[in-house]
């Protein structure tokens, strides 16, 4: 029961905090706004509680009682914030409740739910048969969670600089391990349901966030179609059973980008976008690269927007920098290699060919051949054609630039990795695709036209009124 409370309360607290932060924002329709704030808030609650637990641990004050007090304080803060903004919530105009124009959306929704029910049943069977997850789960993420949840100074082992523990990646940030450890410490055991449920939760949060963001920006039909493409992304869905940090990272990328795009009508969303990018940096090293690239892409567009974005990002980015500098210096061979080896690998054309082939092969294996998500996207592109909403073009450009730079950085790491390249590609590339996939889908569906007969009146109306983004 204590474990369940420690798991659920941060989600509830985050939901109320997100509801307060988004109160009065012009996200339409209302149901999409509610789903968006719930999904965003649950992810934010996990991040905030993970950070708070880490600070408690660092201060030697982590105990089951302290965790419950912390959770209660978070929940109280969330409830207070949402109570103080309740008036703003009531101001949402009734136009947002406009019914979707496409009369068969209910059938699409039903089919999508049935498809996910079938796949989820299979994924849950896998997780039940393999409750400790895949290799990196028990050798990195959950192992470090066990150290963090241990008695006394055991948490220091999660950051161990012992050479034989290099495979545990002690320099990786601690969002996932911290959250799992917090629940374990509160519960007094290390039951596998915690990382199992966390994996599935992040899959659900991605679905909810992608669907609600698209419903708000492009209409319900686009959201449902994106759901079908996600349903066909089998390699991505499988990550829910793995208990790795890639799915959470994909969630924070998506949240950051969705908030950036929603900032058109609600500039304060930029601070939340920055906060989510910083949560990504607290999840995995790749997240720090994403946060930097998003900052640079924003900087090229609007300096004032960067200020707002950094207001949200700075606190956790500062924590990540302190973590890296003082507690867990880079131990990855990637950062320890000499300049000679780096230059040699950089100048080796065979590596580029090998990486190119692996990119193609993994892309092929991202779904089933005849229902491949890229094939579905191609069919939709032919059927719907592309049409970029001029009002959203700049936000799209910023997000696409940040994602492209992040992907380029991933490829750059493969070029210079001192590890065996074939092994490195084979064990990580599909997960890297998975990190970027939800955000990529969001951007693709924002460049695809809305089926004319299906566009909600509010969406079509908004499309006719392009307006300045970010400058408010």
């Amino acid at each position: 029961m204590t474990g369940f409370l420690a798991f659920a309360v941060p989600l509830l607290a985050g939901w109320r905090l997100a509801a307060a932060a988004l109160a009065g924002r012009t996200i339409r329709p209302v149901w999409a706004a509610r789903v968006f704030e719930a999904a965003l808030g649950a992810g934010a609650g996990i991040a905030i509680s993970s950070i708070a637990f880490f600070l408690l641990t660092l201060g030697g004050a982590a105990s089951p009682a302290a965790i419950l007090v912390l959770d209660a304080a978070l929940l109280a803060a969330g409830l207070l914030a949402s109570w103080r903004t309740r008036g703003r919530r009531a101001a949402v105009p009734s136009e947002s409740a406009a019914p979707p124009a496409f009369r068969w959306n209910w059938l699409l929704a039903l089919a999508l739910a049935a498809g996910f029910a079938v796949v989820l049943y299979g994924l849950i069977s896998i997780s039940a048969a393999n409750p400790f997850g895949e290799w990196d789960a028990w050798s990195i993420w959950n192992l470090r969670a066990k150290f963090l949840a241990g008695p006394g100074d055991a948490w220091r082992s999660a950051l161990s600089a012992l050479p034989e523990k290099a495979g545990m990646h002690p320099d990786y940030p601690l969002l996932l391990s911290g959250f799992v450890a917090m629940v374990w410490k509160a519960a007094g055991d290390t039951a596998p349901w915690v990382p199992q449920l966390t994996g599935f939760l992040f899959l659900a949060l991605i679905l909810a966030l992608l669907g609600s963001a698209l419903a708000a920006l492009r209409g319900l039909t686009s959201a449902l179609l994106a759901g079908f493409v996600l349903l066909a992304s089998t390699s991505f869905l499988f990550q829910a059973t793995m208990q790795y940090a890639d799915l959470p990272l994909g969630f924070y990328y998506l949240a950051s980008i969705a908030l950036l795009l929603l900032a058109e009508s609600a500039p304060n969303c930029l601070a939340l976008s920055g906060a989510c990018a910083s949560f990504a940096a607290w999840t995995k090293n790749e997240g720090a690269a994403f946060a930097v690239f998003l900052t640079l892409a924003l900087l090229a567009v609007d300096r004032r927007a960067v200020r707002r974005y950094l207001t949200g990002a700075a606190p956790v980015l500062l924590l990540v920098v302190c973590f890296k500098v003082f507690l867990a210096p880079a131990s990855d061979p990637l950062f320890k290699q000499g300049a000679a080896g780096l230059a040699q690998r950089f100048a080796d054309p065979a590596r580029y060919v090998q990486i190119g082939k692996a990119l193609a092969v993994e892309a092929y294996h991202f779904g089933q051949p005849w229902s491949h998500p890229l094939l579905l996207l191609a069919i939709l592109a032919v059927a719907l054609r592309f049409r970029i909403d001029p009002a959203g073009a700049r936000g799209l450009r910023v997000a696409a630039t940040a994602l492209a730079l992040t992907f380029a950085a991933y490829c750059g790491v493969y070029v210079v990795t001192p590890s065996d390249l074939a092994w490195h590609l084979q064990t990580s590339l599909s997960r890297l695709y998975g990190q970027l996939w939800p955000s990529f889908l969001l951007l693709v569906f924002l460049t695809l036209d809305v089926p004319r007969a299906t566009a909600p009146a509010a969406v079509l109306k908004a499309q006719r009124k392009p307006k300045e983004r970010f400058r408010k």
Binding site: N130, L143, P151
Partner: protein, 125 residues
């Protein structure tokens, strides 16, 4: 329709895969190490020996499984002439226990069966 048909096809794959999902038997390792874990201190460093070298992929998997089962204790593969204290052994071939113990100067505290042995190393050799 394509996505739905793909989902059905994928669910069949998942159903087949679930029969062999825990390929490293991590679940079984928790039970295998339970008695050794109860006998060890709750935290701190513990030595590790095996008849399968940790440089070998199977040896890496055995060490990883032992480390996960015994965390928050931190396991360090034993080196000749270095380290004293508790040592846990995980053996693929239990008949190797005696020779490995002799090689590293270990005295057996308890043999739990199933390839798990708890040792002490008091003096360096």
């Amino acid at each position: 329709m394509l996505a739905l048909a793909g989902a059905l096809d994928y669910s069949q794959f998942l159903s087949e895969y679930s029969r062999s999902a825990d390929q490293f038997q991590i679940g079984a390792q928790q039970a295998r190490f339970r008695d050794a874990a109860a006998a060890l201190p709750a935290g701190g460093a513990v030595g590790y020996v095996s008849d399968v070298p940790v440089s070998d992929p199977q040896g890496q998997a055995m060490l990883g499984a032992a480390q996960y089962a015994l965390a928050p204790r931190i396991l360090a593969p034993l080196k000749r002439g270095k380290g004293t204290g508790w040592v846990v052994g995980s053996f693929a071939f239990p008949e190797e226990v005696r020779s490995v113990a002799a090689e590293y100067g270990l005295s057996t505290v308890s043999n739990y069966g199933n390839g798990i042995v708890l040792f002490r190393r008091e003096r360096l050799q």
